[in-house]
């Protein structure tokens, strides 16, 4: 204290500048604290899909699907193709494509009086391959990511099983492997052989979901569910192609999507 001994003017000047300094550092702290997340949010609000090249989408014609009430051909074909195990437990089951009553699939879009039976009508549901996928935003390892063609994919090699994505997905499209779906015996041989040895199974502790048959698109085949549907109720194609069947259908007919109010921008469309 002794050696500083400021005169009255000096003291005032110093005080003001200290206050100024504190205010400035506060502002900097706020800018660092809030600016980053805001910038990040702005950046990630833009999706990574491109205008050129394909943007895959699915149209589900529920009127055609209705013809065969409890048909599960699509689900069976998909689960065989991707070695999805059949587990008889609501908590542990694994689903890529399945049916959900209208009132669950379109929560909030049902009215008090609707066409008879519609509320209970089983609707085919799967991953929506959203344009703004919440699962991708929360994944800490980028195990789930969006490809340029819009497919939201799982990289099983990176999944650490934290299940944030399961919580983030508003459609319940993701399943967790609570146990080893295809246990291996000695010499790594699966105890029960999975139906399609060409597609890797999963292991305990990873999350999985529909991949729009990324592995089949890679070899110029369509999705297995579309191929298996005898009613032609599933139509798959490229939305960026003005001649594609999906594009023409959406331009001709009135379609609806699941939970549009959430802003996820699903790319599975329903004709009801």
């Amino acid at each position: 204290m002794e050696d500083r001994k400021p005169d009255a003017e000096g003291a005032v000047e110093k005080d003001v500048s200290r206050r100024g300094f504190l205010a400035a550092s506060g502002a900097v702290a706020i800018a660092i604290g809030c600016g980053g997340p805001i910038l990040a949010a702005l950046a990630s609000a833009r999706s990574s899909t491109k205008e050129d090249g394909p943007r895959w989408a699915m149209v589900v014609d529920t009127r055609k699907c209705e013809e065969k009430g409890d048909c599960m051909a699509c689900s069976l074909a998909c689960h065989q193709t991707h070695n999805v195990p059949e587990i008889d437990s609501k908590k542990e089951e694994i689903k890529w494509i399945w049916k959900e009553p209208y009132k669950h699939a379109f929560l909030g879009q049902e009215a008090e009086h609707m066409r008879h039976g519609l509320k209970e009508l089983p609707i085919t549901v799967m991953c929506n391959h959203c344009e703004n996928p919440p699962c991708v935003r929360v994944c800490p390892t980028q195990a789930t990511f969006q490809r340029e063609d819009g497919i939201v994919l799982m990289d099983m090699h990176r999944c650490i099983g934290c299940r944030y994505c399961i919580v983030a997905c508003p459609y319940g499209s993701r399943s967790f492997n609570w146990k080893d779906p295809w246990p291996r015996g000695d010499d790594n041989e699966p105890v029960d052989s999975p139906p399609n040895p060409d597609f890797p199974t999963r292991m305990r502790g990873v999350v999985e979901k529909c991949n729009f048959c990324a592995e089949r698109l890679g070899t110029d085949q369509g999705p297995a569910c579309v191929e298996a549907c005898e009613c032609e109720a599933l139509i798959f194609g490229d939305l960026n192609d003005p001649e594609s069947e999906v594009r023409l259908l959406l331009e001709e007919e009135l379609s609806q999507r699941r939970r549009p109010e959430l802003g996820t921008n699903p790319h599975v469309f329903y004709l009801v």
Binding site: M156, R184, N188, P190, P197, M203
Partner: protein
């Protein structure tokens, strides 16, 4: 220095104990890697033999990222023939036996890749 002898003896014993793995394998260890048959009629691998022996796991990581993350499934040219980037269909499509080839060397090197928790080993040829 009163205990010079004891200190030096202590250091020598310490070094003998700590360096046990090195002098033991040097004197009694068996360094010959297993005599491997690649179980194939082909003459060439994806890269030359030395590169494959040392770096095949990095090549597999590269393929895995190309296929899963970059939507690039190949093809890769090996001795003029086109192959896709696949662990089971390419590596084990050409190498006819996992057990007699990959596994034999992995057992020797004590490596336990977890790939086979998911990828299905094709039938042995």
């Amino acid at each position: 220095m009163h205990d010079q002898g004891k200190v030096i003896a202590g250091i020598v014993i310490f070094l003998i104990v700590v360096l046990f793995p090195i002098w033991y394998t040097g004197a009694f260890g068996d360094f010959t890697p297993p005599n491997l048959d690649p179980v194939t009629d082909a003459k060439e691998c994806v890269k030359d033999k030395a590169t494959m022996t040392a770096w095949h796991m990095d090549l597999l990581n590269e393929w895995r990222n190309d296929v899963v993350r970059n939507n690039d499934r190949g093809p890769v040219l090996i001795a003029g023939k086109e192959w896709e980037k696949s662990l089971t269909r390419t590596c084990l499509g050409c190498h006819g036996s996992y057990r007699k080839f990959c596994h034999k060397c992995h057992t020797y090197a004590d490596v336990k890749p977890d790939c086979w928790q998911c990828h299905v080993v094709p039938e042995e040829r």
